[in-house]
Protein backbone atom coordinates (compact mmCIF):
# COMPACT_ATOMS: atom_id res chain seq x y z
CA UNK A 1 0.00 0.00 0.00
CA UNK A 2 1.19 3.47 -0.78
CA UNK A 3 0.52 4.68 2.77
CA UNK A 4 3.47 2.74 4.03
CA UNK A 5 5.76 5.39 2.65
CA UNK A 6 3.56 8.35 3.35
CA UNK A 7 5.08 11.28 5.19
CA UNK A 8 3.31 14.25 6.71
CA UNK A 9 3.68 16.03 3.41
CA UNK A 10 2.14 13.20 1.42
CA UNK A 11 -0.88 13.04 3.67
CA UNK A 12 -1.37 16.77 3.35
CA UNK A 13 -1.16 16.67 -0.42
CA UNK A 14 -3.76 13.91 -0.51
CA UNK A 15 -7.18 15.47 -1.09
CA UNK A 16 -9.00 12.52 0.46
CA UNK A 17 -7.00 12.92 3.64
CA UNK A 18 -7.74 16.63 3.84
CA UNK A 19 -11.43 15.98 3.26
CA UNK A 20 -11.39 13.45 6.08
CA UNK A 21 -9.81 15.94 8.49
CA UNK A 22 -12.11 18.76 7.49
CA UNK A 23 -15.38 17.00 6.84
CA UNK A 24 -14.96 13.57 8.33
CA UNK A 25 -15.60 11.84 5.01
CA UNK A 26 -14.49 8.21 4.61
CA UNK A 27 -13.82 7.94 8.30
CA UNK A 28 -13.88 4.15 8.30
CA UNK A 29 -11.21 4.06 5.62
CA UNK A 30 -8.85 6.31 7.54
CA UNK A 31 -9.48 4.59 10.86
CA UNK A 32 -8.49 1.44 9.08
CA UNK A 33 -5.28 3.03 7.88
CA UNK A 34 -4.52 4.05 11.45
CA UNK A 35 -4.79 0.48 12.69
CA UNK A 36 -3.06 -0.98 9.67
CA UNK A 37 -0.10 1.38 9.86
CA UNK A 38 0.39 2.26 13.51
CA UNK A 39 3.82 3.65 12.69
CA UNK A 40 2.06 6.35 10.67
CA UNK A 41 0.06 7.58 13.61
CA UNK A 42 2.49 10.38 14.40
CA UNK A 43 2.62 11.59 10.82
CA UNK A 44 -1.14 11.52 10.56
CA UNK A 45 -1.53 13.43 13.81
CA UNK A 46 0.92 16.06 12.66
CA UNK A 47 -0.76 16.37 9.30
CA UNK A 48 -4.13 16.70 11.02
CA UNK A 49 -2.79 19.41 13.29
CA UNK A 50 -1.47 21.41 10.39
CA UNK A 51 -4.83 21.32 8.62
CA UNK A 52 -6.72 22.12 11.80
CA UNK A 53 -4.40 24.97 12.72
CA UNK A 54 -4.94 26.48 9.29
CA UNK A 55 -8.71 26.11 9.35
CA UNK A 56 -8.83 27.68 12.78
CA UNK A 57 -6.79 30.74 11.90
CA UNK A 58 -8.29 33.88 13.41
CA UNK A 59 -10.91 35.44 11.20
CA UNK A 60 -10.87 39.11 10.32
CA UNK A 61 -14.49 40.06 10.13
CA UNK A 62 -16.16 43.14 8.81
CA UNK A 63 -18.33 45.20 11.07
CA UNK A 64 -21.93 45.41 9.95
CA UNK A 65 -21.72 49.11 9.30
CA UNK A 66 -18.56 48.71 7.24
CA UNK A 67 -20.29 46.05 5.24
CA UNK A 68 -23.24 48.32 4.58
CA UNK A 69 -21.06 51.35 3.90
CA UNK A 70 -19.04 49.43 1.35
CA UNK A 71 -22.18 48.27 -0.40
CA UNK A 72 -23.46 51.81 -0.45
CA UNK A 73 -20.26 53.05 -2.01
CA UNK A 74 -20.38 50.32 -4.62
CA UNK A 75 -23.90 51.28 -5.56
CA UNK A 76 -23.09 54.92 -5.50
CA UNK A 77 -20.20 54.43 -7.87
CA UNK A 78 -22.23 52.24 -10.20
CA UNK A 79 -25.07 54.73 -10.24
CA UNK A 80 -22.81 57.64 -10.84
CA UNK A 81 -21.10 55.83 -13.62
CA UNK A 82 -24.34 54.93 -15.31
CA UNK A 83 -25.98 58.33 -15.09
CA UNK A 84 -22.92 60.36 -15.78
CA UNK A 85 -21.62 58.20 -18.52
CA UNK A 86 -24.54 57.42 -20.68
CA UNK A 87 -26.61 60.49 -21.44
CA UNK A 88 -29.18 58.29 -23.11
CA UNK A 89 -29.81 55.62 -20.57
CA UNK A 90 -29.01 52.21 -21.88
CA UNK A 91 -26.21 49.84 -22.41
CA UNK A 92 -22.83 51.28 -22.91
CA UNK A 93 -19.47 50.33 -21.61
CA UNK A 94 -17.30 53.24 -20.82
CA UNK A 95 -13.76 52.23 -20.37
CA UNK A 96 -12.25 55.42 -19.15
CA UNK A 97 -13.80 54.92 -15.79
CA UNK A 98 -11.97 51.68 -15.30
CA UNK A 99 -8.77 53.28 -16.34
CA UNK A 100 -9.31 56.15 -13.99
CA UNK A 101 -10.30 53.91 -11.16
CA UNK A 102 -7.34 51.65 -11.29
CA UNK A 103 -4.69 54.27 -11.69
CA UNK A 104 -3.64 56.34 -8.76
CA UNK A 105 -3.35 59.88 -9.89
CA UNK A 106 -1.94 61.08 -6.69
CA UNK A 107 1.82 61.00 -6.71
CA UNK A 108 3.71 63.53 -8.66
CA UNK A 109 0.96 65.40 -10.37
CA UNK A 110 2.40 68.65 -9.15
CA UNK A 111 5.26 68.29 -11.50
CA UNK A 112 3.23 67.66 -14.61
CA UNK A 113 3.40 71.22 -15.55
CA UNK A 114 1.53 71.90 -18.73
CA UNK A 115 2.00 75.53 -19.59
CA UNK A 116 -0.27 75.38 -22.59
CA UNK A 117 -3.21 74.66 -20.34
CA UNK A 118 -3.21 78.19 -19.13
CA UNK A 119 -3.74 79.40 -22.66
CA UNK A 120 -6.35 76.91 -23.78
CA UNK A 121 -8.20 76.03 -20.63
CA UNK A 122 -10.36 78.02 -18.32
CA UNK A 123 -8.29 79.96 -15.84
CA UNK A 124 -8.87 82.22 -12.92
CA UNK A 125 -8.11 85.31 -14.99
CA UNK A 126 -10.61 84.35 -17.65
CA UNK A 127 -13.26 83.55 -15.09
CA UNK A 128 -12.81 86.82 -13.28
CA UNK A 129 -12.81 88.83 -16.48
CA UNK A 130 -16.14 87.28 -17.41
CA UNK A 131 -17.79 88.49 -14.25
CA UNK A 132 -18.14 91.87 -15.91
CA UNK A 133 -18.41 95.33 -14.49
CA UNK A 134 -18.81 94.42 -10.86
CA UNK A 135 -16.37 95.44 -8.25
CA UNK A 136 -14.29 92.49 -7.28
CA UNK A 137 -12.74 91.89 -3.90
CA UNK A 138 -9.56 89.90 -4.19
CA UNK A 139 -7.26 88.32 -1.66
CA UNK A 140 -3.86 86.92 -2.51
CA UNK A 141 -1.67 84.93 -0.17
CA UNK A 142 1.99 85.49 -0.80
CA UNK A 143 3.10 84.09 2.51
CA UNK A 144 3.89 80.51 3.30
CA UNK A 145 1.40 80.50 6.14
CA UNK A 146 -2.22 79.95 5.13
CA UNK A 147 -4.27 83.10 4.95
CA UNK A 148 -7.68 83.23 6.58
CA UNK A 149 -10.31 84.93 4.46
CA UNK A 150 -13.65 85.62 6.05
CA UNK A 151 -16.38 86.03 3.48
CA UNK A 152 -19.34 88.40 3.95
CA UNK A 153 -21.72 85.48 4.54
CA UNK A 154 -19.65 84.22 7.47
CA UNK A 155 -17.92 81.39 5.63
CA UNK A 156 -14.21 81.02 6.16
CA UNK A 157 -11.55 80.15 3.65
CA UNK A 158 -7.97 79.21 4.37
CA UNK A 159 -6.02 80.22 1.33
CA UNK A 160 -2.75 78.42 0.76
CA UNK A 161 0.48 79.93 -0.40
CA UNK A 162 0.18 81.51 -3.82
CA UNK A 163 -3.60 81.21 -3.78
CA UNK A 164 -5.97 83.86 -5.03
CA UNK A 165 -9.61 84.24 -4.14
CA UNK A 166 -12.11 86.79 -5.35
CA UNK A 167 -15.81 87.56 -5.43
CA UNK A 168 -18.08 90.31 -6.72
CA UNK A 169 -18.75 92.53 -3.73
CA UNK A 170 -22.22 93.65 -4.79
CA UNK A 171 -23.48 90.26 -5.87
CA UNK A 172 -22.04 87.90 -3.35
CA UNK A 173 -24.66 86.56 -1.00
CA UNK A 174 -27.58 88.18 -2.82
CA UNK A 175 -29.06 85.13 -4.52
CA UNK A 176 -26.08 82.91 -4.35
CA UNK A 177 -22.53 82.97 -3.19
CA UNK A 178 -19.89 82.74 -5.89
CA UNK A 179 -16.16 82.83 -5.47
CA UNK A 180 -13.27 82.38 -7.90
CA UNK A 181 -10.18 80.47 -6.90
CA UNK A 182 -6.69 79.99 -8.17
CA UNK A 183 -4.47 77.66 -6.16
CA UNK A 184 -5.45 75.70 -3.12
CA UNK A 185 -7.94 76.59 -0.42
CA UNK A 186 -9.88 74.92 2.35
CA UNK A 187 -13.48 76.11 2.62
CA UNK A 188 -15.83 76.01 5.56
CA UNK A 189 -19.10 77.16 4.16
CA UNK A 190 -21.85 78.54 6.33
CA UNK A 191 -25.02 76.55 5.99
CA UNK A 192 -27.46 78.53 3.90
CA UNK A 193 -29.51 76.22 1.76
CA UNK A 194 -31.29 79.03 -0.04
CA UNK A 195 -28.09 80.56 -1.29
CA UNK A 196 -25.87 77.88 -2.76
CA UNK A 197 -22.16 78.44 -2.62
CA UNK A 198 -20.10 78.02 -5.81
CA UNK A 199 -16.37 77.80 -6.23
CA UNK A 200 -15.17 78.38 -9.77
CA UNK A 201 -11.74 76.91 -10.19
CA UNK A 202 -10.38 76.47 -13.68
CA UNK A 203 -12.79 74.22 -15.57
CA UNK A 204 -14.43 72.90 -12.45
CA UNK A 205 -17.46 74.22 -10.62
CA UNK A 206 -18.01 73.06 -7.06
CA UNK A 207 -21.40 73.60 -5.55
CA UNK A 208 -22.25 73.26 -1.89
CA UNK A 209 -24.91 74.21 0.54
CA UNK A 210 -22.91 74.17 3.74
CA UNK A 211 -19.91 72.01 4.38
CA UNK A 212 -16.14 71.92 4.40
CA UNK A 213 -13.86 70.91 1.60
CA UNK A 214 -10.62 71.66 -0.20
CA UNK A 215 -10.18 72.79 -3.79
CA UNK A 216 -6.85 72.61 -5.58
CA UNK A 217 -6.75 74.40 -8.89
CA UNK A 218 -3.46 75.74 -10.11
CA UNK A 219 -3.01 77.60 -13.32
CA UNK A 220 -0.51 75.26 -14.89
CA UNK A 221 -1.24 71.85 -13.47
CA UNK A 222 -3.04 69.16 -15.32
CA UNK A 223 -5.67 68.52 -12.72
CA UNK A 224 -8.17 70.15 -10.47
CA UNK A 225 -8.96 68.40 -7.21
CA UNK A 226 -11.75 68.62 -4.70
CA UNK A 227 -11.55 66.83 -1.36
CA UNK A 228 -14.54 66.82 0.95
CA UNK A 229 -14.17 66.88 4.70
CA UNK A 230 -17.76 67.13 5.85
CA UNK A 231 -21.18 67.41 4.25
CA UNK A 232 -22.02 67.03 0.61
CA UNK A 233 -20.48 68.71 -2.38
CA UNK A 234 -21.54 68.61 -6.01
CA UNK A 235 -19.09 69.18 -8.83
CA UNK A 236 -19.47 69.72 -12.55
CA UNK A 237 -17.42 71.15 -15.32
CA UNK A 238 -17.69 74.46 -17.11
CA UNK A 239 -18.67 72.62 -20.26
CA UNK A 240 -21.43 70.64 -18.58
CA UNK A 241 -24.50 70.70 -20.87
CA UNK A 242 -26.69 71.12 -17.81
CA UNK A 243 -24.50 73.78 -16.28
CA UNK A 244 -27.17 76.48 -16.43
CA UNK A 245 -29.67 74.32 -14.65
CA UNK A 246 -27.15 73.23 -12.06
CA UNK A 247 -26.16 76.80 -11.36
CA UNK A 248 -29.74 77.95 -10.96
CA UNK A 249 -31.02 75.01 -9.02
CA UNK A 250 -30.82 74.74 -5.27
CA UNK A 251 -30.40 71.00 -5.16
CA UNK A 252 -27.08 69.23 -5.42
CA UNK A 253 -27.02 67.41 -8.71
CA UNK A 254 -24.30 65.95 -10.84
CA UNK A 255 -21.42 64.17 -9.20
CA UNK A 256 -22.02 64.38 -5.49
CA UNK A 257 -19.11 63.83 -3.16
CA UNK A 258 -19.41 62.68 0.43
CA UNK A 259 -17.00 63.13 3.33
CA UNK A 260 -13.44 61.97 2.69
CA UNK A 261 -14.15 61.57 -0.97
CA UNK A 262 -12.06 63.20 -3.55
CA UNK A 263 -12.54 63.96 -7.18
CA UNK A 264 -9.98 64.82 -9.80
CA UNK A 265 -10.66 66.65 -13.01
CA UNK A 266 -8.28 66.01 -15.84
CA UNK A 267 -8.06 69.36 -17.55
CA UNK A 268 -6.94 68.00 -20.88
CA UNK A 269 -9.99 65.86 -21.53
CA UNK A 270 -12.34 67.31 -18.90
CA UNK A 271 -12.98 63.97 -17.35
CA UNK A 272 -13.81 63.50 -13.72
CA UNK A 273 -12.54 60.58 -11.75
CA UNK A 274 -12.30 59.50 -8.13
CA UNK A 275 -8.95 58.24 -6.94
CA UNK A 276 -9.26 55.01 -5.07
CA UNK A 277 -7.92 56.14 -1.81
CA UNK A 278 -8.40 59.52 -0.32
CA UNK A 279 -5.11 60.68 1.01
CA UNK A 280 -5.77 62.28 4.33
CA UNK A 281 -2.12 63.05 4.86
CA UNK A 282 -2.21 65.33 1.89
CA UNK A 283 -4.53 67.65 3.71
CA UNK A 284 -1.86 69.96 4.89
CA UNK A 285 -3.78 72.52 6.89
CA UNK A 286 -4.42 71.94 10.57
CA UNK A 287 -8.05 73.00 10.15
CA UNK A 288 -8.53 70.20 7.67
CA UNK A 289 -7.33 67.52 9.99
CA UNK A 290 -8.43 68.75 13.35
CA UNK A 291 -11.57 67.45 14.76
CA UNK A 292 -12.81 70.07 17.12
CA UNK A 293 -14.27 67.58 19.52
CA UNK A 294 -13.81 68.78 23.01
CA UNK A 295 -15.16 66.99 26.03
CA UNK A 296 -14.67 68.78 29.27
CA UNK A 297 -11.55 70.53 28.07
CA UNK A 298 -10.03 73.74 29.42
CA UNK A 299 -11.15 76.78 27.46
CA UNK A 300 -7.55 77.77 26.93
CA UNK A 301 -6.91 74.50 25.08
CA UNK A 302 -9.91 74.97 22.86
CA UNK A 303 -8.83 78.47 21.97
CA UNK A 304 -5.28 77.27 21.35
CA UNK A 305 -6.54 74.73 18.87
CA UNK A 306 -8.53 77.33 17.03
CA UNK A 307 -5.67 79.79 16.95
CA UNK A 308 -3.43 77.14 15.47
CA UNK A 309 -5.94 75.89 12.97
CA UNK A 310 -6.83 79.27 11.54
CA UNK A 311 -3.71 81.23 12.28
CA UNK A 312 -5.68 83.87 14.12
CA UNK A 313 -5.12 85.52 17.44
CA UNK A 314 -7.81 85.22 20.07
CA UNK A 315 -7.58 87.64 22.96
CA UNK A 316 -9.29 86.82 26.25
CA UNK A 317 -8.79 87.13 29.95
CA UNK A 318 -6.86 83.97 30.63
CA UNK A 319 -7.09 84.35 34.38
CA UNK A 320 -10.86 84.69 34.40
CA UNK A 321 -11.23 81.59 32.25
CA UNK A 322 -8.41 79.60 33.79
CA UNK A 323 -10.72 77.18 35.56
CA UNK A 324 -13.38 76.98 32.88
CA UNK A 325 -13.99 73.80 31.00
CA UNK A 326 -15.91 73.32 27.84
CA UNK A 327 -17.64 70.55 25.98
CA UNK A 328 -18.04 71.41 22.34
CA UNK A 329 -18.39 69.43 19.15
CA UNK A 330 -17.29 71.68 16.37
CA UNK A 331 -16.78 70.39 12.89
CA UNK A 332 -17.33 72.22 9.67
CA UNK A 333 -18.62 75.51 10.95
CA UNK A 334 -16.79 78.54 9.72
CA UNK A 335 -14.43 80.13 12.19
CA UNK A 336 -16.83 82.77 13.45
CA UNK A 337 -19.52 80.21 14.08
CA UNK A 338 -17.11 78.21 16.13
CA UNK A 339 -16.26 81.30 18.15
CA UNK A 340 -19.94 82.08 18.51
CA UNK A 341 -20.66 78.64 19.90
CA UNK A 342 -17.85 78.91 22.38
CA UNK A 343 -19.12 82.30 23.46
CA UNK A 344 -22.59 80.95 23.96
CA UNK A 345 -21.28 78.24 26.20
CA UNK A 346 -19.31 80.78 28.23
CA UNK A 347 -22.02 83.38 28.26
CA UNK A 348 -19.59 85.70 26.56
CA UNK A 349 -19.51 87.76 23.41
CA UNK A 350 -16.84 88.53 20.87
CA UNK A 351 -15.65 91.32 18.67
CA UNK A 352 -13.19 91.45 15.81
CA UNK A 353 -10.64 94.18 16.38
CA UNK A 354 -7.75 94.56 13.96
CA UNK A 355 -7.66 90.94 12.85
CA UNK A 356 -7.86 89.83 16.44
CA UNK A 357 -10.82 88.12 17.96
CA UNK A 358 -11.53 89.57 21.35
CA UNK A 359 -13.67 87.54 23.70
CA UNK A 360 -15.27 89.37 26.58
CA UNK A 361 -16.49 87.32 29.46
CA UNK A 362 -17.19 87.49 33.13
CA UNK A 363 -15.75 84.03 33.65
CA UNK A 364 -17.62 80.93 34.52
CA UNK A 365 -19.39 80.14 37.70
Amino acid sequence: MKFENYTVKDFLLDDRFVDWVKQGTEDAFWQDILTQYPQKRAAITQARSIVLATTQLPVQSLKDNDLAAMWQKIQWRIQKEETQDTPVRGIGQRWWWAAAASVLLVVGWWSWQQPHLSQQGVTYEKLVSQVGVQKMAEQTNENTKPLLVNLPDGSSVLLQKGGKLSYATNEFNVEKREVYLSGEAFFEVKKETKKPFFVYANELVTKVLGTSFTVRAFKDTKQVEVIVKTGKVAVFTQNDPEKKYKLANRALSGVVLLPNQQIVLDRTNLRLSTPLIAKPERLTLPAQNLSFEFDDVLVSEVIDAIEKAYGVEVVYDAELLSECKLTAHLTDEPLYDKIKMICQALDAHYEVVDAQIVIQTKGCK
Binding site: K9, A42, Q46, T54, Q60, I91, Q93, I277
Partner: protein, 194 residues
Amino acid sequence: MACKESVTHEIDLWKRFKKGDEDAFAAIYEQYVGILYNYGCHIVADTFLVQDAIQDLFVDLWRMRQNLSDTTSIKFYLFRALRRKLHQLVKAEQIFTKFPTLTPLFTPAQETEFMANEASAEMLQILQNHLKTLPPRQFEAIRLRFFEDFKFEEIASIMDMNEQSVRNLIQRAILKLRKLFGSSVCIFSLLFFL
Protein backbone atom coordinates in the same frame (compact mmCIF):
# COMPACT_ATOMS: atom_id res chain seq x y z
CA MET B 1 -26.03 15.98 -2.68
CA ALA B 2 -25.82 19.23 -0.79
CA CYS B 3 -22.73 19.99 -2.74
CA LYS B 4 -24.44 19.52 -6.06
CA GLU B 5 -27.33 21.68 -5.01
CA SER B 6 -25.06 24.53 -4.05
CA VAL B 7 -23.25 24.27 -7.36
CA THR B 8 -26.45 24.59 -9.36
CA HIS B 9 -27.47 27.43 -7.10
CA GLU B 10 -24.18 29.16 -7.81
CA ILE B 11 -24.49 28.71 -11.56
CA ASP B 12 -28.00 30.05 -11.45
CA LEU B 13 -27.07 33.01 -9.27
CA TRP B 14 -24.21 33.90 -11.59
CA LYS B 15 -26.43 33.68 -14.66
CA ARG B 16 -29.06 35.92 -13.12
CA PHE B 17 -26.41 38.41 -12.15
CA LYS B 18 -24.97 38.41 -15.67
CA LYS B 19 -28.39 39.28 -17.00
CA GLY B 20 -28.41 42.35 -14.79
CA ASP B 21 -30.43 41.03 -11.85
CA GLU B 22 -29.59 43.42 -9.02
CA ASP B 23 -30.86 41.07 -6.35
CA ALA B 24 -28.49 38.40 -7.56
CA PHE B 25 -25.68 40.94 -7.47
CA ALA B 26 -26.57 41.87 -3.89
CA ALA B 27 -26.77 38.19 -2.95
CA ILE B 28 -23.29 37.57 -4.32
CA TYR B 29 -21.98 40.53 -2.36
CA GLU B 30 -23.60 39.38 0.86
CA GLN B 31 -22.45 35.84 0.46
CA TYR B 32 -18.83 36.56 -0.35
CA VAL B 33 -17.84 39.91 1.08
CA GLY B 34 -16.93 38.38 4.44
CA ILE B 35 -14.61 35.69 3.17
CA LEU B 36 -13.11 38.02 0.60
CA TYR B 37 -12.32 40.50 3.33
CA ASN B 38 -10.83 37.81 5.49
CA TYR B 39 -8.68 36.57 2.63
CA GLY B 40 -7.60 40.09 1.72
CA CYS B 41 -6.60 40.88 5.27
CA HIS B 42 -4.36 37.84 5.31
CA ILE B 43 -2.51 39.06 2.24
CA VAL B 44 -2.31 42.74 3.05
CA ALA B 45 -2.28 44.19 6.52
CA ASP B 46 -4.08 47.38 5.48
CA THR B 47 -7.80 46.80 6.08
CA PHE B 48 -8.82 49.98 4.27
CA LEU B 49 -6.93 48.91 1.22
CA VAL B 50 -8.74 45.59 1.32
CA GLN B 51 -12.09 47.38 1.57
CA ASP B 52 -11.20 49.57 -1.37
CA ALA B 53 -10.14 46.60 -3.43
CA ILE B 54 -13.40 44.81 -2.69
CA GLN B 55 -15.41 47.85 -3.70
CA ASP B 56 -13.46 48.14 -6.92
CA LEU B 57 -13.95 44.48 -7.56
CA PHE B 58 -17.72 44.69 -7.28
CA VAL B 59 -18.00 47.87 -9.30
CA ASP B 60 -15.95 46.22 -12.04
CA LEU B 61 -17.98 43.07 -11.78
CA TRP B 62 -21.22 44.92 -12.41
CA ARG B 63 -19.76 46.95 -15.21
CA MET B 64 -18.31 43.91 -16.95
CA ARG B 65 -21.15 41.52 -16.20
CA GLN B 66 -22.14 41.01 -19.80
CA ASN B 67 -18.65 40.03 -20.79
CA LEU B 68 -18.05 37.58 -17.97
CA SER B 69 -17.76 33.92 -18.70
CA ASP B 70 -19.84 31.33 -16.91
CA THR B 71 -18.40 29.95 -13.74
CA THR B 72 -19.18 27.05 -11.49
CA SER B 73 -17.33 28.62 -8.61
CA ILE B 74 -18.10 32.24 -7.90
CA LYS B 75 -15.78 32.06 -4.93
CA PHE B 76 -12.85 31.04 -7.07
CA TYR B 77 -13.63 33.77 -9.57
CA LEU B 78 -13.86 36.45 -6.88
CA PHE B 79 -10.73 35.34 -5.07
CA ARG B 80 -8.69 35.51 -8.22
CA ALA B 81 -10.05 38.92 -9.07
CA LEU B 82 -9.51 40.28 -5.56
CA ARG B 83 -5.95 39.08 -5.48
CA ARG B 84 -5.20 40.88 -8.74
CA LYS B 85 -6.83 44.04 -7.47
CA LEU B 86 -4.87 43.92 -4.25
CA HIS B 87 -1.64 43.45 -6.09
CA GLN B 88 -2.36 46.42 -8.30
CA LEU B 89 -3.17 48.55 -5.31
CA VAL B 90 -0.21 47.38 -3.30
CA LYS B 91 2.04 48.17 -6.20
CA ALA B 92 0.51 51.59 -6.54
CA GLU B 93 0.65 52.21 -2.84
CA GLN B 94 3.96 50.47 -2.27
CA ILE B 95 2.75 48.92 0.90
CA PHE B 96 4.83 46.05 2.02
CA THR B 97 3.07 42.91 2.94
CA LYS B 98 3.27 42.57 6.62
CA PHE B 99 1.31 40.58 9.06
CA PRO B 100 0.02 42.55 11.95
CA THR B 101 1.19 40.43 14.84
CA LEU B 102 3.95 37.93 15.05
CA THR B 103 4.31 36.07 18.28
CA PRO B 104 6.25 32.90 17.60
CA LEU B 105 6.81 31.94 21.19
CA PHE B 106 7.62 28.43 22.04
CA THR B 107 10.30 26.48 23.76
CA PRO B 108 11.41 22.93 23.10
CA ALA B 109 10.26 21.93 26.58
CA GLN B 110 6.71 22.92 25.80
CA GLU B 111 6.90 21.23 22.48
CA THR B 112 7.33 17.70 23.70
CA GLU B 113 4.54 18.13 26.12
CA PHE B 114 2.09 19.10 23.43
CA MET B 115 2.88 16.14 21.28
CA ALA B 116 1.10 13.88 23.71
CA ASN B 117 -2.31 15.34 23.08
CA GLU B 118 -3.46 15.20 19.58
CA ALA B 119 -4.17 18.62 18.18
CA SER B 120 -4.25 20.25 21.57
CA ALA B 121 -5.29 23.89 21.67
CA GLU B 122 -1.80 25.01 22.62
CA MET B 123 -0.21 23.10 19.83
CA LEU B 124 -2.60 24.55 17.31
CA GLN B 125 -1.77 27.97 18.69
CA ILE B 126 1.93 27.35 18.16
CA LEU B 127 1.30 26.11 14.65
CA GLN B 128 -0.80 29.16 13.91
CA ASN B 129 1.90 31.49 15.13
CA HIS B 130 4.32 29.78 12.81
CA LEU B 131 1.90 29.84 9.92
CA LYS B 132 1.94 33.60 10.16
CA THR B 133 5.72 33.71 10.00
CA LEU B 134 5.90 31.68 6.81
CA PRO B 135 6.90 33.57 3.67
CA PRO B 136 3.73 35.30 2.46
CA ARG B 137 3.26 33.17 -0.63
CA GLN B 138 3.70 29.93 1.25
CA PHE B 139 1.22 31.08 3.83
CA GLU B 140 -1.23 32.17 1.18
CA ALA B 141 -1.02 28.88 -0.69
CA ILE B 142 -1.45 26.77 2.39
CA ARG B 143 -4.34 28.92 3.54
CA LEU B 144 -6.08 28.72 0.18
CA ARG B 145 -5.75 24.95 0.29
CA PHE B 146 -6.75 24.10 3.86
CA PHE B 147 -8.79 27.12 4.92
CA GLU B 148 -10.61 27.99 1.72
CA ASP B 149 -10.67 24.47 0.29
CA PHE B 150 -9.50 25.36 -3.16
CA LYS B 151 -8.08 22.69 -5.44
CA PHE B 152 -4.44 22.95 -6.49
CA GLU B 153 -5.51 23.87 -9.96
CA GLU B 154 -7.64 26.73 -8.63
CA ILE B 155 -4.92 27.97 -6.32
CA ALA B 156 -2.55 27.99 -9.27
CA SER B 157 -4.94 30.18 -11.19
CA ILE B 158 -5.64 32.49 -8.26
CA MET B 159 -1.95 32.95 -7.51
CA ASP B 160 -1.03 33.18 -11.15
CA MET B 161 1.47 30.34 -11.20
CA ASN B 162 1.51 26.74 -12.36
CA GLU B 163 0.14 23.85 -10.39
CA GLN B 164 3.49 22.26 -9.69
CA SER B 165 4.81 25.49 -8.22
CA VAL B 166 1.81 25.61 -5.90
CA ARG B 167 2.56 22.09 -4.76
CA ASN B 168 6.17 23.02 -4.17
CA LEU B 169 5.15 26.09 -2.24
CA ILE B 170 2.89 24.07 0.02
CA GLN B 171 5.49 21.35 0.47
CA ARG B 172 8.04 23.88 1.57
CA ALA B 173 5.56 25.33 4.04
CA ILE B 174 4.80 21.87 5.41
CA LEU B 175 8.48 21.13 5.78
CA LYS B 176 8.94 24.24 7.88
CA LEU B 177 5.94 23.47 10.04
CA ARG B 178 7.08 19.88 10.48
CA LYS B 179 10.32 21.05 12.01
CA LEU B 180 8.25 22.24 14.94
CA PHE B 181 7.52 18.66 15.79
CA GLY B 182 11.24 18.02 15.42
CA SER B 183 12.85 15.13 17.24
CA SER B 184 9.91 14.74 19.52
CA VAL B 185 8.35 12.57 16.86
CA CYS B 186 9.91 9.47 18.41
CA ILE B 187 8.73 10.26 21.90
CA PHE B 188 5.40 11.05 20.42
CA SER B 189 4.91 7.79 18.58
CA LEU B 190 6.09 5.90 21.62
CA LEU B 191 3.35 7.42 23.67
CA PHE B 192 0.78 5.66 21.60
CA PHE B 193 2.13 2.30 22.45
CA LEU B 194 2.60 2.76 26.13
